[in-house]
Symmetry: C2
Subunit: 202 residues, 2 copies
DNA sequence: AAAATGTTTGACCATGTGGTCGGGATCACG
DNA sequence: CGTGATCCCGACCACATGGTCAAACATTTT
Protein backbone atom coordinates (compact mmCIF):
# COMPACT_ATOMS: atom_id res chain seq x y z
CA UNK A 1 0.00 0.00 0.00
CA UNK A 2 2.10 2.90 1.26
CA UNK A 3 5.78 2.06 0.89
CA UNK A 4 8.57 4.00 2.53
CA UNK A 5 8.10 7.75 2.37
CA UNK A 6 10.90 9.65 0.64
CA UNK A 7 13.18 11.98 2.56
CA UNK A 8 11.29 14.98 1.19
CA UNK A 9 7.99 13.53 2.29
CA UNK A 10 9.25 12.96 5.80
CA UNK A 11 10.68 16.48 6.04
CA UNK A 12 7.58 18.24 4.71
CA UNK A 13 5.04 16.18 6.59
CA UNK A 14 6.98 16.98 9.74
CA UNK A 15 7.19 20.68 8.92
CA UNK A 16 3.45 20.80 8.25
CA UNK A 17 2.52 19.02 11.47
CA UNK A 18 4.84 21.23 13.52
CA UNK A 19 3.39 24.36 11.97
CA UNK A 20 -0.16 23.11 12.32
CA UNK A 21 0.41 22.28 15.97
CA UNK A 22 1.53 25.84 16.66
CA UNK A 23 -1.41 27.38 14.83
CA UNK A 24 -4.18 25.01 15.94
CA UNK A 25 -3.04 25.17 19.56
CA UNK A 26 -3.33 28.92 19.57
CA UNK A 27 -6.50 29.51 17.57
CA UNK A 28 -8.42 26.25 17.72
CA UNK A 29 -9.59 24.31 14.67
CA UNK A 30 -11.97 26.86 13.22
CA UNK A 31 -9.80 29.85 14.03
CA UNK A 32 -6.77 28.43 12.25
CA UNK A 33 -6.27 28.96 8.52
CA UNK A 34 -4.36 26.94 5.94
CA UNK A 35 -2.54 30.08 4.79
CA UNK A 36 -1.25 30.59 8.31
CA UNK A 37 -0.09 26.98 8.59
CA UNK A 38 1.49 27.11 5.14
CA UNK A 39 3.37 30.31 5.98
CA UNK A 40 4.56 28.86 9.29
CA UNK A 41 5.75 25.70 7.54
CA UNK A 42 7.45 27.61 4.72
CA UNK A 43 5.35 25.95 2.04
CA UNK A 44 2.68 27.06 -0.39
CA UNK A 45 -0.94 26.32 0.40
CA UNK A 46 -1.47 23.91 -2.50
CA UNK A 47 1.63 22.07 -1.36
CA UNK A 48 0.05 21.50 2.04
CA UNK A 49 -2.85 19.86 0.29
CA UNK A 50 -0.47 17.68 -1.66
CA UNK A 51 0.63 16.07 1.59
CA UNK A 52 -2.70 16.10 3.43
CA UNK A 53 -6.10 15.84 1.78
CA UNK A 54 -7.72 18.54 3.94
CA UNK A 55 -7.44 20.82 6.93
CA UNK A 56 -9.49 18.31 8.86
CA UNK A 57 -6.99 15.55 8.04
CA UNK A 58 -4.07 17.55 9.44
CA UNK A 59 -5.98 18.16 12.64
CA UNK A 60 -6.95 14.53 12.97
CA UNK A 61 -3.38 13.39 12.46
CA UNK A 62 -2.25 15.68 15.27
CA UNK A 63 -4.95 14.50 17.65
CA UNK A 64 -4.36 10.84 16.89
CA UNK A 65 -0.69 11.11 17.78
CA UNK A 66 -1.50 13.19 20.83
CA UNK A 67 -3.63 10.87 22.92
CA UNK A 68 -0.99 8.17 23.28
CA UNK A 69 1.65 10.66 24.41
CA UNK A 70 -0.85 12.18 26.76
CA UNK A 71 -1.80 8.98 28.51
CA UNK A 72 1.71 7.55 28.79
CA UNK A 73 2.54 9.13 32.18
CA UNK A 74 -0.63 7.75 33.76
CA UNK A 75 -0.06 4.36 32.17
CA UNK A 76 3.32 4.27 33.89
CA UNK A 77 1.67 4.42 37.32
CA UNK A 78 2.75 1.13 38.86
CA UNK A 79 0.38 -0.72 41.17
CA UNK A 80 3.35 -2.58 42.68
CA UNK A 81 5.34 0.57 43.55
CA UNK A 82 5.40 2.62 46.72
CA UNK A 83 2.10 4.61 46.54
CA UNK A 84 3.17 8.15 47.43
CA UNK A 85 6.30 7.82 45.34
CA UNK A 86 4.29 6.57 42.35
CA UNK A 87 1.76 9.40 42.57
CA UNK A 88 4.43 12.07 43.04
CA UNK A 89 6.28 10.62 40.08
CA UNK A 90 3.13 10.90 37.99
CA UNK A 91 2.66 14.52 39.02
CA UNK A 92 6.23 15.41 38.09
CA UNK A 93 6.14 13.58 34.77
CA UNK A 94 2.91 15.38 33.90
CA UNK A 95 4.34 18.76 34.90
CA UNK A 96 7.44 18.09 32.82
CA UNK A 97 5.17 17.42 29.84
CA UNK A 98 3.49 20.79 30.38
CA UNK A 99 6.91 22.43 30.37
CA UNK A 100 8.29 20.54 27.36
CA UNK A 101 5.16 20.23 25.21
CA UNK A 102 2.97 23.25 25.96
CA UNK A 103 1.52 23.36 22.45
CA UNK A 104 0.30 19.78 22.71
CA UNK A 105 -1.38 20.68 25.99
CA UNK A 106 -3.10 23.67 24.44
CA UNK A 107 -4.21 21.68 21.40
CA UNK A 108 -5.85 19.23 23.76
CA UNK A 109 -7.39 22.02 25.83
CA UNK A 110 -8.84 23.63 22.69
CA UNK A 111 -10.39 20.36 21.61
CA UNK A 112 -12.05 19.84 25.00
CA UNK A 113 -13.20 23.47 25.24
CA UNK A 114 -14.96 23.02 21.91
CA UNK A 115 -16.85 20.07 23.32
CA UNK A 116 -14.43 17.36 22.16
CA UNK A 117 -16.22 16.91 18.81
CA UNK A 118 -13.36 14.85 17.39
CA UNK A 119 -12.06 12.80 20.32
CA UNK A 120 -15.14 12.12 22.38
CA UNK A 121 -15.02 8.41 21.47
CA UNK A 122 -11.44 8.19 22.73
CA UNK A 123 -12.43 9.94 25.96
CA UNK A 124 -15.29 7.54 26.64
CA UNK A 125 -13.26 4.53 25.55
CA UNK A 126 -9.51 4.43 25.94
CA UNK A 127 -9.25 7.30 28.44
CA UNK A 128 -12.13 6.20 30.63
CA UNK A 129 -10.97 2.61 30.88
CA UNK A 130 -7.40 3.62 31.73
CA UNK A 131 -8.65 5.99 34.44
CA UNK A 132 -11.03 3.34 35.77
CA UNK A 133 -8.13 0.90 36.03
CA UNK A 134 -5.79 3.33 37.80
CA UNK A 135 -8.53 4.64 40.05
CA UNK A 136 -9.00 1.09 41.29
CA UNK A 137 -5.30 0.85 42.08
CA UNK A 138 -5.42 4.11 44.04
CA UNK A 139 -8.58 3.06 45.87
CA UNK A 140 -6.77 -0.12 46.84
CA UNK A 141 -3.87 1.86 48.29
CA UNK A 142 -6.29 4.00 50.28
CA UNK A 143 -8.22 0.98 51.58
CA UNK A 144 -4.93 -0.58 52.70
CA UNK A 145 -4.06 2.60 54.60
CA UNK A 146 -0.95 3.20 52.48
CA UNK A 147 -2.22 6.68 51.50
CA UNK A 148 -4.85 8.90 53.06
CA UNK A 149 -8.48 8.24 52.18
CA UNK A 150 -9.37 10.16 49.03
CA UNK A 151 -11.61 10.03 45.93
CA UNK A 152 -9.30 8.54 43.29
CA UNK A 153 -11.12 10.06 40.30
CA UNK A 154 -10.92 13.59 41.61
CA UNK A 155 -7.32 12.95 42.63
CA UNK A 156 -6.51 12.20 39.00
CA UNK A 157 -8.52 15.21 37.82
CA UNK A 158 -6.63 17.42 40.25
CA UNK A 159 -3.30 16.22 38.90
CA UNK A 160 -4.42 17.00 35.35
CA UNK A 161 -5.76 20.40 36.35
CA UNK A 162 -2.72 21.47 38.34
CA UNK A 163 -0.12 20.40 35.83
CA UNK A 164 -1.86 21.42 32.60
CA UNK A 165 -2.66 24.83 34.06
CA UNK A 166 1.00 25.79 33.81
CA UNK A 167 0.99 25.09 30.07
CA UNK A 168 -2.48 26.30 29.12
CA UNK A 169 -2.44 29.45 31.23
CA UNK A 170 1.27 30.14 30.86
CA UNK A 171 0.86 33.79 29.84
CA UNK A 172 -1.39 34.47 32.83
CA UNK A 173 0.99 32.77 35.26
CA UNK A 174 3.90 34.79 33.90
CA UNK A 175 1.93 38.04 33.90
CA UNK A 176 1.06 37.58 37.59
CA UNK A 177 4.48 36.40 38.70
CA UNK A 178 6.28 39.16 36.81
CA UNK A 179 9.91 38.73 35.86
CA UNK A 180 11.51 38.70 39.28
CA UNK A 181 10.07 35.57 40.85
CA UNK A 182 11.93 32.84 39.02
CA UNK A 183 10.81 30.11 36.63
CA UNK A 184 7.12 29.20 37.07
CA UNK A 185 7.81 25.51 36.51
CA UNK A 186 10.45 25.27 39.23
CA UNK A 187 8.11 26.93 41.72
CA UNK A 188 5.27 24.69 40.58
CA UNK A 189 7.37 21.56 41.04
CA UNK A 190 8.23 22.43 44.64
CA UNK A 191 4.66 23.49 45.39
CA UNK A 192 3.01 20.40 43.92
CA UNK A 193 5.38 18.00 45.67
CA UNK A 194 4.58 19.72 48.98
CA UNK A 195 0.85 19.75 48.29
CA UNK A 196 0.51 16.09 47.37
CA UNK A 197 2.92 14.93 50.06
CA UNK A 198 0.81 16.62 52.72
CA UNK A 199 -2.46 15.46 51.27
CA UNK A 200 -1.55 11.82 50.65
CA UNK A 201 0.33 10.91 53.81
CA UNK A 202 -1.86 8.45 55.69
CA UNK B 1 -25.09 61.57 25.26
CA UNK B 2 -26.51 58.11 25.76
CA UNK B 3 -29.69 58.47 27.82
CA UNK B 4 -31.67 55.53 29.08
CA UNK B 5 -31.77 52.62 26.67
CA UNK B 6 -35.24 51.59 25.58
CA UNK B 7 -36.75 48.28 26.63
CA UNK B 8 -36.04 46.83 23.20
CA UNK B 9 -32.42 47.93 23.37
CA UNK B 10 -31.97 46.28 26.72
CA UNK B 11 -33.60 43.07 25.58
CA UNK B 12 -31.67 42.79 22.32
CA UNK B 13 -28.30 43.83 23.72
CA UNK B 14 -28.78 41.17 26.35
CA UNK B 15 -29.81 38.52 23.81
CA UNK B 16 -26.79 39.35 21.69
CA UNK B 17 -24.34 39.18 24.57
CA UNK B 18 -25.82 35.90 25.82
CA UNK B 19 -25.60 34.38 22.35
CA UNK B 20 -22.11 35.73 21.78
CA UNK B 21 -20.96 34.32 25.11
CA UNK B 22 -22.17 30.87 24.12
CA UNK B 23 -20.50 31.01 20.71
CA UNK B 24 -17.23 32.73 21.64
CA UNK B 25 -16.74 30.47 24.65
CA UNK B 26 -16.97 27.41 22.46
CA UNK B 27 -15.06 28.46 19.35
CA UNK B 28 -12.82 31.32 20.44
CA UNK B 29 -12.83 34.74 18.84
CA UNK B 30 -11.65 33.77 15.38
CA UNK B 31 -13.63 30.58 15.22
CA UNK B 32 -16.93 32.31 16.02
CA UNK B 33 -19.04 33.87 13.24
CA UNK B 34 -21.57 36.66 13.31
CA UNK B 35 -24.10 34.47 11.51
CA UNK B 36 -23.84 31.93 14.31
CA UNK B 37 -24.29 34.58 16.99
CA UNK B 38 -27.18 36.14 15.12
CA UNK B 39 -28.94 32.79 14.74
CA UNK B 40 -28.39 31.99 18.42
CA UNK B 41 -29.78 35.38 19.40
CA UNK B 42 -32.75 35.10 17.05
CA UNK B 43 -31.79 38.26 15.15
CA UNK B 44 -30.60 39.07 11.67
CA UNK B 45 -26.92 39.75 11.14
CA UNK B 46 -27.41 43.39 10.14
CA UNK B 47 -29.41 43.84 13.30
CA UNK B 48 -26.48 42.65 15.39
CA UNK B 49 -24.42 45.37 13.81
CA UNK B 50 -27.11 47.89 14.62
CA UNK B 51 -26.48 47.29 18.32
CA UNK B 52 -22.72 46.72 18.21
CA UNK B 53 -20.34 48.33 15.71
CA UNK B 54 -18.33 45.14 15.09
CA UNK B 55 -17.60 41.57 16.10
CA UNK B 56 -14.60 42.89 18.00
CA UNK B 57 -16.83 45.26 20.00
CA UNK B 58 -19.11 42.42 21.13
CA UNK B 59 -16.13 40.43 22.29
CA UNK B 60 -14.62 43.39 24.12
CA UNK B 61 -17.89 44.10 25.90
CA UNK B 62 -18.01 40.52 27.12
CA UNK B 63 -14.42 40.55 28.34
CA UNK B 64 -14.79 43.91 30.07
CA UNK B 65 -17.74 42.69 32.11
CA UNK B 66 -15.99 39.41 32.81
CA UNK B 67 -12.88 40.45 34.70
CA UNK B 68 -14.74 42.11 37.56
CA UNK B 69 -16.96 39.08 38.10
CA UNK B 70 -13.94 36.88 37.88
CA UNK B 71 -11.92 38.67 40.52
CA UNK B 72 -14.75 39.24 43.00
CA UNK B 73 -14.29 35.95 44.91
CA UNK B 74 -10.59 36.64 45.46
CA UNK B 75 -11.30 40.23 46.43
CA UNK B 76 -13.62 38.92 49.15
CA UNK B 77 -10.71 37.11 50.85
CA UNK B 78 -10.60 38.83 54.23
CA UNK B 79 -7.25 39.40 55.92
CA UNK B 80 -9.02 39.70 59.27
CA UNK B 81 -10.86 36.39 59.00
CA UNK B 82 -9.90 32.92 60.15
CA UNK B 83 -7.26 31.82 57.54
CA UNK B 84 -8.32 28.27 56.70
CA UNK B 85 -11.95 29.26 56.68
CA UNK B 86 -11.24 32.21 54.37
CA UNK B 87 -9.26 30.10 51.90
CA UNK B 88 -11.81 27.29 51.90
CA UNK B 89 -14.53 29.86 51.35
CA UNK B 90 -12.61 31.21 48.37
CA UNK B 91 -12.24 27.72 46.89
CA UNK B 92 -15.95 27.02 47.25
CA UNK B 93 -17.02 30.37 45.81
CA UNK B 94 -14.74 29.80 42.84
CA UNK B 95 -16.05 26.28 42.31
CA UNK B 96 -19.62 27.56 42.47
CA UNK B 97 -18.74 30.06 39.75
CA UNK B 98 -17.45 27.22 37.57
CA UNK B 99 -20.73 25.43 38.10
CA UNK B 100 -22.99 28.45 37.56
CA UNK B 101 -21.03 30.29 34.85
CA UNK B 102 -19.16 27.70 32.82
CA UNK B 103 -19.37 29.74 29.62
CA UNK B 104 -17.68 32.69 31.27
CA UNK B 105 -14.91 30.39 32.44
CA UNK B 106 -14.42 29.01 28.94
CA UNK B 107 -14.45 32.46 27.40
CA UNK B 108 -11.64 33.41 29.74
CA UNK B 109 -9.77 30.19 29.03
CA UNK B 110 -10.01 30.79 25.29
CA UNK B 111 -8.63 34.28 25.65
CA UNK B 112 -5.66 33.06 27.68
CA UNK B 113 -5.00 30.11 25.37
CA UNK B 114 -4.78 32.55 22.48
CA UNK B 115 -2.09 34.46 24.32
CA UNK B 116 -4.38 37.00 26.01
CA UNK B 117 -4.14 39.46 23.10
CA UNK B 118 -7.00 41.57 24.41
CA UNK B 119 -6.67 41.45 28.19
CA UNK B 120 -2.93 41.29 28.75
CA UNK B 121 -2.93 44.83 30.19
CA UNK B 122 -5.58 43.85 32.73
CA UNK B 123 -3.58 40.75 33.68
CA UNK B 124 -0.40 42.74 34.28
CA UNK B 125 -2.27 45.54 36.03
CA UNK B 126 -5.46 44.90 37.93
CA UNK B 127 -5.04 41.12 38.27
CA UNK B 128 -1.38 41.20 39.25
CA UNK B 129 -1.84 43.87 41.90
CA UNK B 130 -4.81 42.09 43.45
CA UNK B 131 -2.88 38.82 43.56
CA UNK B 132 0.18 40.57 45.00
CA UNK B 133 -1.99 42.03 47.74
CA UNK B 134 -3.69 38.76 48.65
CA UNK B 135 -0.44 36.80 48.41
CA UNK B 136 0.99 39.11 51.05
CA UNK B 137 -1.98 38.36 53.30
CA UNK B 138 -1.50 34.62 52.86
CA UNK B 139 2.25 34.90 53.43
CA UNK B 140 1.47 36.76 56.65
CA UNK B 141 -0.80 33.93 57.83
CA UNK B 142 1.93 31.40 57.06
CA UNK B 143 4.61 33.44 58.84
CA UNK B 144 2.34 33.65 61.89
CA UNK B 145 1.92 29.87 61.88
CA UNK B 146 -1.83 30.11 61.32
CA UNK B 147 -1.59 27.97 58.17
CA UNK B 148 1.13 25.62 56.95
CA UNK B 149 4.11 27.14 55.18
CA UNK B 150 3.33 27.42 51.46
CA UNK B 151 4.07 29.52 48.36
CA UNK B 152 1.08 31.91 48.26
CA UNK B 153 1.26 32.55 44.50
CA UNK B 154 1.16 28.89 43.58
CA UNK B 155 -1.54 28.38 46.18
CA UNK B 156 -3.69 30.89 44.32
CA UNK B 157 -2.79 29.32 40.96
CA UNK B 158 -3.77 25.92 42.28
CA UNK B 159 -7.17 27.21 43.37
CA UNK B 160 -7.74 28.66 39.92
CA UNK B 161 -6.59 25.49 38.18
CA UNK B 162 -8.62 23.10 40.30
CA UNK B 163 -11.87 25.02 40.18
CA UNK B 164 -11.81 26.20 36.56
CA UNK B 165 -10.92 22.69 35.41
CA UNK B 166 -14.44 21.54 36.23
CA UNK B 167 -15.92 24.19 33.93
CA UNK B 168 -13.37 24.19 31.11
CA UNK B 169 -12.95 20.42 30.90
CA UNK B 170 -16.52 19.57 31.81
CA UNK B 171 -17.08 17.18 28.91
CA UNK B 172 -13.90 15.28 29.72
CA UNK B 173 -14.78 15.00 33.40
CA UNK B 174 -18.23 13.70 32.54
CA UNK B 175 -16.89 11.30 29.92
CA UNK B 176 -14.52 9.76 32.46
CA UNK B 177 -16.97 9.65 35.37
CA UNK B 178 -19.74 8.22 33.22
CA UNK B 179 -23.32 8.61 34.30
CA UNK B 180 -23.34 6.54 37.45
CA UNK B 181 -20.96 8.41 39.68
CA UNK B 182 -23.06 11.43 40.69
CA UNK B 183 -22.66 15.14 39.99
CA UNK B 184 -19.04 16.14 39.28
CA UNK B 185 -19.40 19.39 41.19
CA UNK B 186 -20.59 17.73 44.37
CA UNK B 187 -17.69 15.32 44.28
CA UNK B 188 -15.32 18.17 43.51
CA UNK B 189 -16.58 20.19 46.44
CA UNK B 190 -15.95 17.38 48.91
CA UNK B 191 -12.58 16.58 47.37
CA UNK B 192 -11.30 20.13 47.33
CA UNK B 193 -12.37 20.84 50.90
CA UNK B 194 -10.50 17.72 52.00
CA UNK B 195 -7.44 18.56 49.92
CA UNK B 196 -7.03 22.13 51.14
CA UNK B 197 -7.89 21.27 54.73
CA UNK B 198 -5.12 18.70 54.83
CA UNK B 199 -2.62 20.90 53.05
CA UNK B 200 -3.23 24.10 55.00
CA UNK B 201 -3.47 22.85 58.55
CA UNK B 202 -0.37 24.13 60.36
C1' DA C 1 19.80 10.80 -21.54
C1' DA C 2 15.29 9.68 -21.40
C1' DA C 3 11.41 8.03 -19.16
C1' DA C 4 8.93 7.69 -15.05
C1' DT C 5 7.92 9.25 -10.85
C1' DG C 6 7.57 12.60 -7.32
C1' DT C 7 7.19 17.65 -5.94
C1' DT C 8 5.82 22.57 -6.35
C1' DT C 9 3.07 26.46 -7.51
C1' DG C 10 0.30 30.26 -9.98
C1' DA C 11 -4.17 30.84 -11.33
C1' DC C 12 -8.58 29.80 -10.34
C1' DC C 13 -13.27 28.56 -8.10
C1' DA C 14 -17.17 28.32 -4.79
C1' DT C 15 -18.40 29.47 -0.52
C1' DG C 16 -18.13 31.88 3.90
C1' DT C 17 -17.41 36.05 6.39
C1' DG C 18 -17.39 40.83 8.40
C1' DG C 19 -19.61 44.71 7.31
C1' DT C 20 -22.74 48.39 4.57
C1' DC C 21 -26.94 50.51 2.75
C1' DG C 22 -31.49 51.96 1.71
C1' DG C 23 -35.87 51.43 2.60
C1' DG C 24 -39.64 49.48 5.06
C1' DA C 25 -41.88 48.14 9.69
C1' DT C 26 -42.70 49.42 14.33
C1' DC C 27 -42.83 52.14 18.25
C1' DA C 28 -43.27 56.35 21.55
C1' DC C 29 -45.62 60.26 22.19
C1' DG C 30 -48.14 64.56 21.36
C1' DC D 1 -54.43 59.71 14.73
C1' DG D 2 -49.81 61.46 12.80
C1' DT D 3 -45.20 61.98 12.80
C1' DG D 4 -40.53 61.59 14.10
C1' DA D 5 -37.43 58.41 16.07
C1' DT D 6 -36.20 53.88 16.62
C1' DC D 7 -35.81 49.24 14.95
C1' DC D 8 -35.28 45.62 11.46
C1' DC D 9 -33.74 43.15 7.29
C1' DG D 10 -33.06 41.73 2.10
C1' DA D 11 -29.69 42.63 -0.98
C1' DC D 12 -25.26 43.66 -1.61
C1' DC D 13 -19.91 44.30 -1.39
C1' DA D 14 -15.00 43.20 -0.76
C1' DC D 15 -12.16 40.09 0.86
C1' DA D 16 -10.67 35.66 3.12
C1' DT D 17 -10.75 30.80 3.04
C1' DG D 18 -10.73 25.74 1.88
C1' DG D 19 -9.82 23.41 -1.99
C1' DT D 20 -8.76 22.22 -7.31
C1' DC D 21 -6.03 21.78 -11.49
C1' DA D 22 -2.87 21.81 -15.10
C1' DA D 23 1.40 22.74 -16.06
C1' DA D 24 6.25 23.36 -14.60
C1' DC D 25 10.05 21.70 -12.03
C1' DA D 26 12.94 18.17 -9.59
C1' DT D 27 14.47 13.56 -8.58
C1' DT D 28 15.04 8.83 -9.23
C1' DT D 29 15.31 4.89 -12.12
C1' DT D 30 16.50 2.47 -16.22
Amino acid sequence: MSPEPTRIQRRNRRAILDAALAVFSQHGFRGATLDQIAAEAGLSKPNLLYYFPSKEAIHETLLAGLLETWLAPLRALDAEGEPVEELLGYVRRKLAMSRDFPCESRLFANEILQGAPRIMPALEGELKSLVDEKAEVIAGWAAAGRIADIDPYHLIFSIWALTQHYADFDVQVRAVLGTGRGDPFEGADRYLVTLFTRMLRP
